[in-house]
Amino acid sequence: MHGHDLQWCISSKEWSRRDALTLGGVGLATLSLRSVACHAALGGPLDPELSIGEALVEMIDGELVYAWAFGDPRRGPSVPGPVLEAFAGQELQVTVTNTLSTPHAFAVLGTPIATKPIAPGATETLTFRAPPAGTYLYVDPLSAPVNRLMGLHGAMVVLPEERAGTPYSAPTPAVARLFGDLGTTEHFPGEPWQSDRSRVWLFGSVDLRLPDSISRGATFDMNEFLPGYFTINGLSGAFASHDPETIPKGRLGEPHLVRILNAGMAAHSPHFHANHVYVLARNNVVQENVVLVDSFTVGPTERVDVLLPFMRPPDVAGDPQTPLRDLVKHELGMRLGTPQRPLAYPMHCHMEMSQTAAGGNYPQGLVTHWEITGDLDGVDFPESELESQSTGGDRHDHSSH
């Protein structure tokens, strides 16, 4: 892109092939869209086949947008593409078929993993060893950033080669200490991190004018790029906020890992309500200085892993030893349009333009939920009678100026 004054610090640690040697095994699992379900269940080789093709993607307001999408032969195209999952050092074979009429390619950003341009109708097979454990963005790197923004992007999750207490092959002392403390220290009562308590949040954005130009064979000046739709895992607003594969959900003391990737062009500033989060890794650099923040930057193509500790929201008034089910039992028993339990909080981007769809319709943009279902002692918030105290959604209509 021309005229871009801002340099993103994509200081990906130089990945050395040597680091990832020796571990054999086969199989990269192509999991269902948005899913990073338990890898242990997967047996033999599942080398992914990806296709690159056309799709029409429906935005939250019903607008149909022409897109290019990665897909797998069984489930068809999706934006983002399927989550690829592997163990560090594993030898993998990815087959990519280009069904479009222009050349395309496959590359994993921050690694040397890339195909050559794949001619229309051609298939390329790429064999490589999975990089060190972490969160990677795969894209079509051609005509950057156009092909990525047309929909050709997805997440690759690499897990440590051995059963490890952290999500990394080589955790820093600070990250190792943090994961070691979960569930074993006074300040982190509850449970250690379990690898299935993980979520992938891939941020995307769409400017209708780009696919419109591409589909008409016209050119589009990327300096004019201004997204009107913002997604997490391809979903916006209420849909993203109620997608079970997107929202972290659990009792206090059940920490979750959230892998955030930004496939779009905007600088995002994700903000968690109710818990600060630990920043574990940025662009596959496991952090030496693991800061605890409520808002942080995820620039274009950046990947940031955070730990959502699922600690008791610290600023609830009253005795911190009293279980929440007793301390705030009236709130938990209320219905304000919907029941106030479980305790649900937003995670949204604070660059608030990203909270819109089609220029407004707040909050139908880049937002999701996380939910606390019970106390530290393993007891869920009780199913008691709800008091209905709300006056109901009483806003009638909105004047659009």
Partner: protein
């Protein structure tokens, strides 16, 4: 060959009420459902119209949150600072004078009904008493969380500072020998923001989706033609002080810092805007806290450490990030500092506003 359609996920029927609440939160007024005896009571009303005078002579219409109990200083932009002490149990009576609003105490982490997000609780009708306990000293802020792109931009925000139990003049930082405290002599607030004047002509519910209980995601209920994704600021300010377009240098004492050599300056920085803000100071600074969490301080901070930013080393904040910096200048002089504002999508530099730290 037909192109495959990836359709919008169908709304699960059992989530219909939740989808409706997402767009059209209920209104609620009254007392806190689980009250605890407060140590501090504050009041805030919103919204109040406010004209922000620009150096060029014209002005921009803003909305502010007022302190209705302070006739003299209750109406400011940014809205009046809230100052608490660690451990305070706060009852904040929030009144909606016009329309409905909420207040989110950003960085403070209470239950959903006290968190001020409509879709997870309600919007304040007449008034509501929010309740929380400020358990960690640090730099926070408060803002309206309704139609937020617009309401936050319009000026509905203010700083919220939680001092350690010792009170103002002391900050929590990594210092095991001193009980993790340090004294400071001068406190300064740098809160850069930007204004897109087109947005300041809009109404409270501009470009919102229609409330439709029967089908909360009906395609016809979405508004079109809105501009709330398109932020084109042309006024750049720091802590409520707009910079002149011709010579964007701020010497107003609300922003420019003045201290004596040998004194300790605590600088609290908040990005209260929608650009990527890059800060450069001509003095060494030690970063001691982020987002109200002191670096290195046990128990939750032990995975991090404070660090020094040598003079002229820039740092970048996106919206809502807060850093606390300690400066200990020893040599008298006037040290320049600047904020550069970059567009959140194009990355283009939109403005550079300069100010200074004067060491006597």
């Amino acid at each position: 060959m037909t192109i495959p359609v990836i359709s919008r996920m169908p709304m699960p029927t059992e989530e219909s009420a939740a989808f409706f609440k997402h767009v059209c939160p209920p209104t609620f007024a009254g007392d806190n459902p689980d009250p605890v005896e407060p140590t501090v009571r504050i009041a805030r009303d919103l919204v109040v119209d406010f004209a922000l005078a620009l150096p060029e002579g014209d002005s921009v219409p803003m909305w502010i949150i007022e302190d209705p109990e302070d006739a003299r200083l209750g109406r400011q932009f940014p809205s009046k600072l809230i100052r608490l002490r660690e451990g305070d149990v706060v009852h904040a009576k929030v009144g909606a004078k016009k329309n409905t609003h909420t207040i989110h105490w950003h960085g403070i982490e209470p239950t959903p009904m006290n968190d001020g997000v409509g879709k997870h609780s309600f919007e304040v009708g007449a008034s509501f008493v929010y309740q929380f306990c400020a358990r960690q000293a640090g730099t926070y802020f408060y803002h309206c969380h309704k139609n937020t792109p617009l309401h936050f931009e319009m000026g509905l925000y203010g700083l919220l500072i939680v001092d350690p139990p010792e009170g103002q003049g002391v900050v929590t930082r990594l210092a095991p020998e001193q009980g993790h405290r340090e004294h400071y002599d001068v406190e300064a607030f740098w809160v850069p923001d930007e204004i897109d004047r087109r947005w300041h002509e809009l109404g409270h519910e501009a470009f919102m989706q229609k409330c439709d209980e029967a089908d909360p995601v009906r395609r016809d209920d979405f508004s079109h033609g809105g501009i709330l994704n398109d932020f084109r600021p042309d006024v750049f300010l720091v802590t409520g002080v707009p910079a002149a377009r011709r010579d964007p240098k701020i010497v107003d004492p609300r922003v420019a810092v003045s201290a004596h050599a040998g004194q300790t300056i605590l600088l609290r920085v908040l990005n209260a805007g929608y650009t990527v803000q890059r800060f450069t100071l001509d003095l060494d600074a030690e970063v001691i806290a982020m987002d109200g969490r002191p670096l290195g301080v046990p128990p939750y901070g032990v995975y991090s450490s404070p660090f020094t930013l040598p003079a002229r080393t820039p740092f970048q904040l996106t919206s809502a990030m807060r850093w606390e910096l300690l400066l200990k200048p020893t040599v008298p002089g006037t040290y320049p500092a600047q904020v550069e504002y970059f567009h959140w999508v194009t990355g283009k530099r939109l403005a550079t506003v300069r100010t200074q730290i004067k060491v006597l």
